[in-house]
Amino acid sequence: MTPSKAFILGLSLVLFALIALAPPGMLLLNLFSFSPKISIWKWLLERQVHLLTLHSLNMALVATVTALALGLPVGLALGSKRKPLLFGIIFFLPLAIPPYLTASCWMGLLGRGGILPHLAHEWLGMDARSSWLGGAWGAGIVLGLSYFPVLTYMVISGMRRLDAHLEEAAMFALPENGILRKITLPLLFPQIGTGLLLVFLLAITNYAVPSLLGIRTFTVKIYTYFSVFQDIGGAVLLSLPLLLICLVCVLLLHHIMKGRVFFSLQQGEEMGGSLLRLLNSKLFKILACGPALFVTCTPILFLLFQTGSFLSLKIAVDQAKESILTSFVLALFASFCISIVAFVSGYALERTKWGKGGVTRSLFFFPFALPSVLLSIGVIFFWNRPGIVLVYQSLLIITILWGAKYLPLAQRVLADHIRQIPLEMEEIAFLSQLSWTKSLCRIVWPLARPGFLVAWAVTYIFCLSELGGTLLVIPPGADTMPVRLYNIMHYGSSSLLAALGLVLIMMTIIPMGLLVWCGKGIKGLRD
């Protein structure tokens, strides 16, 4: 390895370790040196733990099932045929709406005192006020509605890598539905399994939705406990069962994928896709996409309805100018920095011997599986030290928290993309007398650019809407849009909430639209 290569890759890994691994790692390493205000044995035997586990698992499982019911058919429908750009954009919308906003919309529609129960009462004399949305099931459904595109994109990614010849070969022996059951779905199993596990992880580590709906899950408990007692050791102890669940999920992910790529960005001409008439039929597409389209558009229409007029929107923007600017600049800055570190460290992970190990890969992905509430406690513990207190007191600490959470995800996207670039492309560059640095800049970087933009987009979307962890680390006086929205949900008016919710969605959609528009020329990006 040349000195420049060793330096650049080493630096990226040090940054990765400082940002993503050190905060949770230091928490766990110091687990026994903390003096928590609670006893571990007493806590683990308490009935409350069982309730929290039940609620958390219930919520995450319902979210996973909801995502499966909505996301799999959409993935099969969109992955079966080329050029799903328009639908792809529409089904990207649920990710652009933060789950707490989705929850608030569905509460406004279906919850106690919601519009529909009110109308049912007024017009039909029915008492349709139910509290189901306030339970773990309701929270799970809301999270499933928010995260089903994750599964959809995983399925589409799997469909693109599907070798249609395998289906063709089966056509001599099996009917269409048999091919779907015996060939297509088993071939897609790794992507479906990964998508479901990712949805499960995103749901079980979510803080904002259960907190808003008043459900006692682990994340809510950890947040409340730490906010009240500022007891790091106690908070870590409280999170141990959740940590175990997350660890199992990460190991399962590793087992399911067995070295396959999570994210495929195959380029236009080589795209695969199922040949089955069943999946390519218009009826299937309508049946698959209809419900998903409905649950995607409903919250946006509700927000538009609640906002009322353009004037309300303007007033809301005027009021929240500072939060909008802070959120936008911070998310833009954080996602860009995260993607740069992810690109180089992803290269290190993919193209060096030590990065090939399953343990290393799982370890590097683990921080993403952790709840941001716990990560923020880790960030506070690791970064709130004399000498670097300025970091802790500035907005930089939010960037670091987002990095801790989303750098592993961005790194996985980019490492997967780099794996799909043939090694020979680099080797021929070396033989053409390009140094490693030049090869990285002139060969790997242009070829990895679609992956970089996807990593950036994913990170930007998640950073912009991150709430649970941000609430704990945000410096006094500072305000991000999710924090403002969260406060309005508790103390503000519904029209202001809807207007700012729309602004937040636009803050996601406009840069993504620009990205798609500007990136049309970048081969592979539109896919």
């Binding site: 080797e427 560059a429 033989l431």
Partner: protein, 245 residues
């Protein structure tokens, strides 16, 4: 006595328990074409990669033009070996035009644009590809892509050109065209193939490999007339039927 351009001394390479190369040694004089012929998986590509510096051998040494390339405390990077290579997959950079693919190495050497352009044009003229200068690889036919890969390797005037089964996807006519083209080059070439017809069409020196061992090396006629081992006799005779050994 003139030093051979390439000396390979007792190269060994293992992948886990599998021996990919076992004590491979040979010499190649300047301006000669050596064809390494052997069945798939016999270690031909590994040998090329070691010569190119893309892989470090477990044991053994490679010398190019009398300079030691590897060994205790010695490692010459691929960039400094003056070796050109064409992979089986060609590995043309899809984001660069033909001009970009060919010119990138020259640019890395710091050659000025005007000189670069004239060199690229010269090479492409030789390969009858000038009209494709601004096209991207995916818009070219397989034969044209092959020529671009060859041009990319030749433009840097390497001392040694390594061809790793570059014709495996081509039809017979295109193969013959390219073999004629390569034979007309004034360069030291190692051509690796599993196809006996290509090997015999290339002429020059022939080496037969089997299970990581170099079974025999010499002039084609010598090998055809006096195969050193049973494998050589079997392998060459089996598909060509050119001699009765």
């Amino acid at each position: 006595m003139k030093i051979p351009l390439l000396q390979v001394e007792r190269i060994r390479q293992h992948f886990g328990d599998t021996a990919a190369l076992v004590d491979v040694s040979f010499e190649l004089p300047e301006d000669q074409i050596l064809t390494i012929l052997g069945p798939s998986g016999c270690g031909k590509t590994t040998l090329l990669r070691i010569i190119a510096g893309l892989q470090k051998p477990d044991e053994g040494t490679v010398w190019i033009n009398g300079q030691k390339m590897n060994g205790t405390g010695t490692w010459v990077a691929p960039q400094q070996r003056s070796v050109g290579m064409i992979f089986q997959t060609l590995a043309l950079w899809p984001h660069l035009t033909v001009e970009g693919n060919i010119g990138l190495g020259l640019k890395a050497r710091g050659i000025k644009k005007a000189d670069r352009d004239s060199t690229i044009e010269e090479v492409l003229e030789k390969l009858q590809m000038v009209q494709h200068l601004k096209r991207y690889p995916h818009t070219l036919s397989v034969g044209e892509q092959q020529r671009v890969a060859l041009a990319r390797a030749l433009v840097l005037q390497p001392r040694l050109l390594l061809l790793d089964e570059p014709f495996s996807h081509l039809d017979l006519d295109l193969r013959e065209d390219l073999i004629t083209l390569i034979k007309g080059l004034t360069a030291t070439i190692i051509f690796v193939t599993h196809d006996q017809h290509d090997a015999l069409a290339m002429g020059g020196l022939l080496a037969i490999m089997c299970k990581g061992r170099l079974e025999q090396i010499g002039k084609q006629e010598e090998i055809l007339q006096n195969p050193a081992t049973e494998f050589v006799r079997y392998f060459v005779r089996r598909s060509t039927g050119l001699f009765n050994g």
